[in-house]
Every structure is written in structure tokens, then in C-alpha cells.
Symmetry: C2
Subunit: 212 residues, 2 copies
């Protein structure tokens, strides 16, 4: 079953119930997809305005990139749930003999790495969505600027939410090289995300006179 | 048609298209519903653990409140779209005579107030979700703490996103008393939301040793 085919109401209910999936990783992927869609909408509302024609080429690029991001992030909902289930399955493997213990431990480590990679990839996507949100905040249809700000705020929280899910998995991962690489990357991404959000807020205030 | 009955994929597509609805207000209501659901899930995952029985009464309260919030916020998706459409419809009214102009102006003001009230009510809900997120971060099942953090991050961005939608509507509202009241309330809410988010991050770090 693919979660994106569920109705909104049913999906929300599945999150709320006592099963741990779909959890924070899956929800942040969905919120990222929603943020990408809002950016895409602002770009579309700019393309339909002739007086913004200087920015139409840029908006075409944004529409194409955001469409790709929303479709990828919708798929990540399922990937996140699957990766979590694999971690749980690995922990349930038998550990009666030395061989079983070693095998189990190895499979847990592999599953944890996969479970860290899904939200890590989401973090990369959120960073790109933030950059496009900045683009539509700067050059997009000013009538839709609150949507651009909404997109930037939501993509930022989806980034932090996905990041928390990477960190929680890294905690049990023993491969120090893998951990260091991810932590270093996440630190760089965080700077980029925060910088883009700050710029979105400043530009929105400049263009509207409001503390959006 | 009710948006909550759409599949996730179709809803995301409707956000992305060149129609201005559903926009940032509707999306923030949905993200609020998702955040409430994550808090509810953490409370449920705490209720299923006997070693957390000291906190079961509190978790029961959280489950009941979050269920109410997610259902209310799902309804707000439709309310937000409807309110926006009414503003657009009012702007399209004829303005050929003095009477028509006055009537149109009055209906625009009424529609704008309604369009401000929907995301304003969402802001109130987000503040409550943040408080419950704090509760499950402090006393909830520690295995689900990244979900509690995710919920808090997402509810905060949904708050700012809804707030931007209030402010953009207030800009064209002439009733100074209405504006002052809302701005004052939003300022108080912002302090509460920021305070709760800070506490969630601190508590999560204390309980896990991670900078979640």
C-alpha cells in the first residue's frame, strides 16, 4: 500500500494511532511535499501574470524542480515507514548463538543506516525547497507572498523534523565515518536552511511592510 | 467537496496548481492536524507502556485534546478555502453606483474579517498543540521523543504560516479595534509558542543527549 493514496483524513488517523508508523520521518516528508507545492503554486501564479514576464524563465525552473521534489517526497513517506519496519524486524531476529548475534547486529546496523538515509535525503530536498521559496519570495507574484512565506516556514520545520529522525538513528550506528559524514553535512544544510529562511522573512517584510 | 476526503497525492497537486486555493492557510491547518496526530501517537505509545503508568492520566487528556484538535484543523482546511473564495467574490461585486460601492466595500471588509479569523483560530490551536507536545516530550515514551520534537517543530511552523495569513488579511481591514485585538493576541501566542518550542528542544536534549 502506498500512503499517498490514502485520504488526508485516514492518513492523519494512521499517524495518531498507537502504531509508531507513520511517524515523524514520514510526516516531515509529507510536509516537505506540501511546502514544495506551495512554492510551485506561487511560481504558477507568477507565470499567469504578464507583468512578471522578466521572471518567467526562473519561475518555469522553479515549477519543474518543485514538481520533482513533491513527487519524490511523497514517495519518501513510504520509504520512511519501510525503513523503520526493517529496523524493528532486525531487532527481533534471534540471538541465541554467536553467529546469530553477529548476523543480527550486522543487519541492525544496515537497517539503521537505511533508516537514517531516508530523512537525510529529505533534509537535502528541504534545503532545495527553501532556495526556491526564496526565489519566489523575491521575484514572485506579490499577492501570493504569504504563501511563499508559509512554504519557507513549513520546509524549515520539515527540515528540523527530518533532522531529528536522522540523529535518533545515528545514535545507535557504530560506523564513525558514516556518522561524521552525516553530521557534517547536516551542519552545512542547517546553515543554508536558516540563511534562506532569514532572507525569505526579510524580503517578505520589504515587499509588504508586514512582519510576516 | 471536503478536502480531507481527497487523497494525499491529489491534495498536494491541488495546492501546486495555478489556482490560489488551497493556499498557505489551508496547508498550515493540515500541518497542524499532522502535528496534533504525532503528539497523540506519542501519548498512545506511552499509554501502552506500564512503566509510564504515573503519566497515564495526563496522556489520556493529551489523546482526547489532540483528537479534537486534529478533527477541528481538518475542517479548517475547507473553512480557509471558503473564506478566501468569499473575499475574491466580494472584490468582484459591481461598483458602478455609490450604493454599490458602499455595499461592495462593506462585504469585502466582512469577508476579510472572516478570512483573518480562520487562520487566527488555527494559531490558537497550534499553541495548544505545542503545550501538549511539551507534555509528551517531558513525560512521554522516550523511544518516541523524536516524534514529539517533530510535532513541536511542525506545529510552530504551522503557527507562523497561519499567522502570516492573518497578517496579510489584516492589512486591508479598516476596523482598527479588530486589528489591534488580533495583533495583541498574536503577539501573546507567539511568545507562548516560542517558549514551548524552546522547552521541547531543551527537554529532548536532556532526555536523549542529542541536539534534536
Amino acid at each position: 500500500m502506498s500512503f499517498e493514496k490514502l485520504s488526508i483524513r485516514d492518513f492523519v488517523e494512521k499517524v495518531a494511532d498507537k502504531s509508531p508508523t507513520p511517524g515523524g520521518g514520514a510526516v516531515s516528508a509529507l510536509v516537505g511535499a506540501l511546502a514544495a507545492s506551495l512554492v510551485e503554486m506561487v511560481a504558477n501564479l507568477t507565470l499567469s501574470r504578464a507583468d512578471y514576464s522578466d521572471w518567467h524563465a526562473e519561475m518555469e525552473k522553479v515549477v519543474s524542480l518543485m514538481k520533482e521534489k513533491r513527487l519524490t517526497l511523497l514517495e519518501s513517506i513510504d520509504l520512511d515507514v519501510k525503513a523503520f519496519d526493517e529496523v524493528m524486524a532486525a531487532y527481533k531476529l534471534p540471538k541465541n548463538t554467536v553467529e546469530e548475534k553477529e548476523k543480527r547486529s550486522q543487519l541492525i546496523q544496515e537497517a539503521l543506516k537505511k533508516a537514517a538515509r531516508v530523512p537525510y535525503e529529505s533534509c537535502r530536498h528541504m534545503k532545495e525547497i527553501l532556495k526556491s521559496a526564496l526565489s519566489v519570495t523575491e521575484w514572485g507574484n506579490v499577492n501570493a507572498i504569504s504563501d511563499a512565506v508559509s512554504a519557507a516556514e513549513l520546509a524549515t520545520s520539515a527540515f528540523y523534523s527530518a533532522k531529528a529522525n536522522v540523529l535518533i538513528n545515528l545514535k545507535s550506528i557504530k560506523d564513525e565515518g558514516f556518522k561524521e559524514y552525516m553530521l557534517h553535512e547536516l551542519k552545512t544544510f542547517t546553515g543554508e536552511v536558516e540563511g534562506a529562511l532569514r532572507s525569505v522573512r526579510q524580503l517578505a517584510t520589504q515587499r509588504t511592510g508586514l512582519e510576516l
